[in-house]
């Protein structure tokens, strides 16, 4: 069942906690929800079947969580602090963490700031390049508010899909893009870390380079893209193996 907790700035953060052994914190990507990212893909099921607790956060600006406007309310650090708030609310001391795409940047920030609460870390669907940095904010605004397609097809598809989701808020999504834009995934991994990407994932084409740079292991899933990596059997096998 969905629970809610207020973050430091009053923003309500929604989460679900399914108790089990050695909890796993799940951080979804931009413009989606935990339901679409972790439930329908079968990732949560695979973790539950392995006996693991599953703590899934709805990132601020998304789904049923609060949606403050203004880019200053969104940064990898702020979203990572939301995760800390959720751990405290759920009474969970220590987690393994799995992020996808933007959620991987939040996962990294969380692991860097709360190393004592993180066991193993899995970053999926990310490379060295922060995707939003390449987007023109004016074009993003025109798409979100007026449905005007952007020159970047991937961006258009992501944002159009985002607006079709329940609870989508154009101003909040714009603030997410602006606030997270250019957020660095830099430094060295504090604990065991795995970068995993689909071989057809254009948004994570150099995921192996990222893995090297931060001192992480790397795994590629053949024939998989940014959008269908998580539901693959291979991803779940890699995930469970790494988190064991």
């Amino acid at each position: 069942m969905e629970e809610r907790v207020a973050a430091g700035d009053g923003t309500e953060i929604a989460y679900t906690w399914q108790p089990g052994e050695r909890p796993v914190l799940l951080l979804h990507g931009f413009a989606t929800t935990p339901e679409l990212t972790w439930e329908t893909s079968g990732v949560s099921r695979a973790l539950r079947e392995a006996g693991r607790g599953v703590l899934a956060v709805t990132l601020r600006g998304h789904g049923t969580s609060g949606k403050p406007t203004g880019a200053a309310r969104y940064s990898a650090r702020i979203l990572a602090d939301d995760a800390t708030t959720v751990l405290d609310a759920a009474g969970v001391d220590r987690v393994d963490v799995v992020g996808h795409s933007l959620g991987s940047r939040v996962a990294w920030a969380f692991a860097q700031s709360s190393a004592d609460r993180v066991g193993r870390l899995v970053l999926s669907g990310v490379g060295t390049r922060e995707v939003f940095e390449g987007w023109s904010l004016g074009a993003v605004r025109a798409l979100l508010r007026d449905g005007e397609p952007m020159a970047d097809e991937t961006a258009t598809r992501l944002l159009t899909g985002a607006m079709a989701l329940p609870g989508a808020d154009p101003d909040a999504l714009l603030a997410v893009v602006e606030g997270m834009s250019g957020s660095e995934l830099a430094g060295r991994a504090a604990g065991p870390t795995l970068v995993v990407a689909g071989s057809e994932d254009a948004l994570a084409a150099d995921a192996d380079v990222l893995a090297d740079a931060i001192g992480a292991d790397f795994a590629a899933v053949p024939k998989r893209s940014h959008l269908n990596l998580l539901s693959s059997r291979a991803f779940k096998q890699i995930l469970l193996q790494f988190l064991t």
Binding site: S41, L165, S232
Partner: protein
Amino acid sequence: MAEISFNLPDLGEGLIDAKVLEWLVSVGDYVERGAPIVEVETTKSALELPSPRAGTVARLHAEEDEDIKVGDPLITFEVPDDSAGIVGTVPQQDAEPKRRVRVQLPDDED
């Protein structure tokens, strides 16, 4: 033994077809109700579909990487004669179309 076939269920959001990415079961496997049987991808997302019933897989009706339409045959189970008529409903969506993708199991159980 009798056979029961299931079609690709309505995936919501006005989606009319899906691509079979990966079968998670093989012909001859015994599958529990609710266990994932196939991974499909729509224009919106990629998802696992749960088995609508327990049974032994008799046939898979699509190849991997093949597009199939909602309502087209997906899988056929072999089931004991005495249970064939009891269940066998295709998973139903709510009457009200929901925007999120969720595949529901029938309420009955064998």
